[in-house]
Point group: C2
Chain length 239, copies 2
DNA sequence: AAATTGCTTTGATGTAGGTCAAAAAACATA
DNA sequence: TATGTTTTTTGACCTACATCAAAGCAATTT
């Protein structure tokens, strides 16, 4: 728990992310009851840990602003990024199964999160069917996402993977009202590579190649997608 | 829905898989209420579909006997196996998020499943906290499993992947009271390869190599693990 | 402004696993 | 027992990506 994490009361009912986040589909009255979970908003600086592998599980976390990466640590020191999460997304779902966090979550930039004590969330979702259903959907969506990555890792070549990654980011930025074609990466080549099962040099070369082909413009971490359609085409092309 | 799938009433309370399956941790009385979901047991022949990609989602399925594979179909014809499921395991969780099945489930051998209508399951789990908790754990476990496969696909070499796969099977057979060291594979080299992100020839060579090294005995689909510890060691060895 | 530090890019070379092809088993059907 | 079909094994060769190495940049500190 970083020192610089002042807790403060927060309210879903007045959060501008409510459309994306846990309260989807709740009535005003139900949303107030969600507020009563007495969720706290905490701040994190870049590279602070939200939780570590092995930590006791108590809460899920809704990212309020900023972004996190989750990663698994292998016994032998290898580590692999399992996801990059942004505002409105819920993390910590993997810990429900064993009451212990199986991976760790690290802030990629200065960020804020709402803590959602899981016991209280379960109790409340017994009372509010639409919350129950939504919680199930969130968990199921994570399963679908993970299976998409399995497909990517198991059957796509390097440039297809990077294209899929960029399109996924693009789509998520769009959902948040940001530009789908111009954005700043908050992760290094190394982290992208870890996520995509590739080495950082391969990521760098793929970026350069996309740029030479006129599909994107890259200046280090600043990305501009020039042709979304060519990027999409790149995912299916077997060459 | 195959023609040869006579539906018949089944009861968790008298099922010998209850220890592994959905009813874990329920009292006798609670288990009876689960029986009232009026779940039906259906039979499937090898290569019958339990559900197909795109089907409307209505139910989860508990495998009562036999085994299934789940696979995603890529747009371009590529398909990838996302898992092999055996008795006591629950499938269909990926469909909750969108109410449409995202992948398809195919029987690997003659099998039986209990159908669990999801609406009823949700209703019941609002009444029975331990069922609610267990359902959450099952979903979370699937997330952890998928992330384990991401790690495997993203950072292990061919023989490490196959070793991990065999150990996983071994462990699951053991849980079911079967031999952890002698078993019959119910999937082809091709299917194993698809699951592990490798080609069938690579799987075949890895089997042969393990056999030459005296770690296992293979006769086509009959496997005997001679040294579980060497197999385990193989996962971490970088060579 | 110089120095330190941590990314990123690019090139040269190596290799694990893919691809192609053919033979050998296993299995199924008659 | 013969016969066709599918799966598995094995070999020879190829390629996409990894590895190794060096240089270029950007950000931070002194």
């Amino acid at each position: 728990m970083p020192l610089n994490a002042p807790a403060q009361k927060s309210a879903c009912s007045s959060c501008n992310l409510a459309e994306l986040c846990l309260p989807i589909g709740l009535s005003a009255e139900e949303m107030q009851r969600l507020d009563e979970l007495s969720m706290q908003k905490r701040s994190f600086l870049r590279s602070d840990y939200l939780y570590r592998s092995g930590d006791k599980f108590r809460s899920l976390f809704a990212i309020s602003s900023g972004s996190f990466k989750t990663q698994i640590l292998h016994d032998d020191g290898r580590e692999q990024v399992t996801g990059f999460q942004m505002a409105g997304e819920i993390i910590g779902l993997d810990a429900i199964s064993s009451d212990i966090h199986a991976c760790e979550a690290v802030a990629m930039e200065n960020s804020r999160v709402c803590e959602l004590p899981f016991n209280k969330l379960e109790t409340l979702s017994r009372d509010i069917p639409s919350l129950q259903r939504h919680l199930h959907k969130i968990m199921s969506r994570e399963i679908v996402r993970d299976q998409g990555i399995m497909l990517l890792l198991g059957s796509m070549r390097a440039e297809e993977r990077l294209a899929a990654f960029l399109l996924n980011l693009s789509q998520r930025y769009a959902t948040r009202g940001l530009s789908p074609t111009r954005f700043q990466l908050c992760m290094s080549r190394q982290e992208i590579g870890s996520y995509l099962g590739l080495k950082l040099e391969t990521i760098s070369r793929a970026f350069s190649h996309f740029q030479e082909a006129g599909i994107i413009k890259v200046r280090v971490r600043a990305i501009e997608i020039i042709s979304l359609s060519e990027l999409k085409a790149g995912i299916n092309s077997s060459c």
